[in-house]
Amino acid sequence: MATILEARDVCQYFGGLKAVEKVSMKIEEGDIFGVIGPNGAGKTTFFNICSGILKPTSGEIVFCGESITGSPPEKIARKGMARTFQNIQLFKYMTVLENVKIGFHTRTKTTMFSALFRTKQYWQDESFAHDNALNILEQVGLLEYKDTLASNLPYGVQRKVEIARALALDPKILLLDEPVAGMNPVESQELANFIIGLNKAGITIVVIEHDMKFVMSTCNRILVLNFGQKICEGTPEMVQNDKAVNEAYFGKGLAIEEGYQSATH
């Protein structure tokens, strides 16, 4: 398997604050890669660097063998990286269908000219975006909400709409920032199954999550950050038994005897 996304000694400083400090990682094609860590560990900052929203202070991000350090997010999105946001950034005052249709931007070509003269290109693009948007909504199970305004939907459904919108890009890699936040255990299990399905269909998944049950059951590799630094990277078993990880989550002394699972609930 080839490496799809790689970070090399990535640092992000905000003034004196070292939000991300020398983080390196490798994500292989086909992984479901988890990024975990206590609050304020720099997970979302790290995501923002990968997707181009932030330009790292130093270090390099390599995507599909190409350095994308400092590229703007729209270019990175075009290369095949899609993402969702921690604090859901849907187009709130548009319907679910419109939201997903906007996601087809990179895969359609209509220019102002073809829109003005309603050329063949326009009709092709419109039907392509419309049909495929409905397809995706059906896959995600949101077809019934297609004409609902995004802001009127419950939190859990909005998260799914955001995933649907990201899928419209036909990404190679999908970055999910806390996808199950605000979902009940049944919903989060459903979403886990859905994500595994996407992964089987060939999309590499990177996921930030606090729900340990979700992370441990779906991810095959995990990166643990604390205070902006990488403290561990490996399989779920390795991470669960890692001393530094346990210390980061539970404090010193207590952690090793208590174990992990018992303390999460």
Partner: protein, 343 residues
């Protein structure tokens, strides 16, 4: 029929919509036959001009959510381009008309390029300054623009050997331009390009993460808005026969802006309503001369208070959520929270 029922009719069925528009179109075409008085035609011409001006500003402010208050600058460029080319070089009106638009679009791009990173009030300040710069250039570049004396004797356009001089003739030209503008905008808004514009208004970061080149689309948006403002300027230079820099002051920019706000940003019909209402008010309030500006100001304040999305704006639009009577029942959005926090 109340305004609301007209609007619901407009939004309902495709064929109802088409018939409705056809009837309106027919009425507009027959209008000069019924009221051929030159005063009425003059007001009608002004309304149509402001439909284009307010409509093109609405493309920038309403659809892509930028905050341009210097729209009079583009209008000025269009008018001066047309006036200079027709008086000094004797070019035909029909060539000068698109040239005025293109010139304005070019300047629109020049303004948009360095301001891509600016949002909200910062962009507003830049556009305000730009509008003043254009006016001052027009005022001081005597050799080209005639300075404070303006440009006189702009020739009337020829159409198939027929010289257009009366308001009633101009009415049809302006009607055609306004319809062309509304049609073109309608076609663009309901396409990939229009969706990209709206996505910038709704959430620029999310738009970028979906691969939308927001800079390109903002530039395109500015150019499109400026283009039509330039067309309006170029079309009106021969109608006024005389232009001078004081016609394009900041007041003019705010006048256009108030039409967009009162009519409803982000809707196609809003600026049309805004233009009709403000121009009617101007006529009715002539007796109280400059005090009418107080009325405009009050009108805008009241609108912002009770109906910030404008007369034609949908209650679910992003603009409606800024209202002072924040919808507490609605799931908290960052915007409503901000409004509540400001209190």
């Amino acid at each position: 029929m109340s305004l609301k029922s007209v609007l619901t009719l407009y939004r309902t069925h495709k064929w109802t919509k088409v018939t409705f528009l056809a009837i309106i179109g027919l009425l507009l075409i027959l209008f000069p036959v019924v009221y051929p008085k030159s005063y009425v035609m003059g007001v009608a011409c002004r309304i149509l001009m402001y439909v284009i001006l307010a409509g093109s500003l609405n493309v920038i402010n309403g659809y892509s959510g930028q905050f341009n208050i210097g729209h009079a600058g583009y209008y000025c460029i269009g008018a001066y381009t047309a006036a200079i080319l027709t008086t000094k070089l004797g070019w035909s009106f029909w060539i000068v008309l698109p040239l005025g638009g293109l010139m304005a679009a070019l300047v629109g791009l020049l303004v948009a390029t360095p301001t891509f990173k600016l949002r909200g009030i910062y962009l507003a300040i830049v556009t305000l300054g730009f509008s003043e710069i254009i006016r001052l250039v027009a005022l001081n570049w005597q050799s080209l623009t005639g300075g404070p004396f303006g440009i006189k004797g702009i020739p009337a356009p020829l159409l198939f050997g027929f010289r257009i001089t009366k308001s009633i003739h101009y009415y049809y030209i302006f009607l055609a331009l306004a319809v062309l503008f509304l049609l073109a905008t309608y076609l663009i808004i309901n396409s990939r390009v229009g969706r990209a514009w709206v996505s910038i208004r709704e959430d620029e970061d999310a738009a970028r993460s979906l691969g939308i080149e927001t800079r390109f689309y903002k530039g395109l948006n500015f150019m499109y808005g400026a283009f039509w403002a330039g067309i309006a300027g170029a079309a009106f230079a021969p109608y006024f026969k005389f232009i001078s820099s004081d016609m394009f002051s900041l007041d003019e920019g705010f006048n256009i802006l108030s039409m967009v706000i009162i009519g409803g940003q982000g809707t196609l019909i809003g600026p049309v309503l805004g233009s009709v209402i403000i121009n009617f008010l101007t006529e009715f309030l002539r007796p109280i001369s400059q005090y009418r500006f107080v009325v405009y100001a009050l009108l805008i304040i009241v609108m912002m208070w009770i109906r910030p999305q404008g007369l034609a704006g949908a209650s679910h639009s992003i603009l409606a959520s800024n209202r002072i009577f924040a919808h507490r029942k609605r799931a908290p959005s960052s915007r409503t929270r901000q409004v509540e926090g400001d209190k």
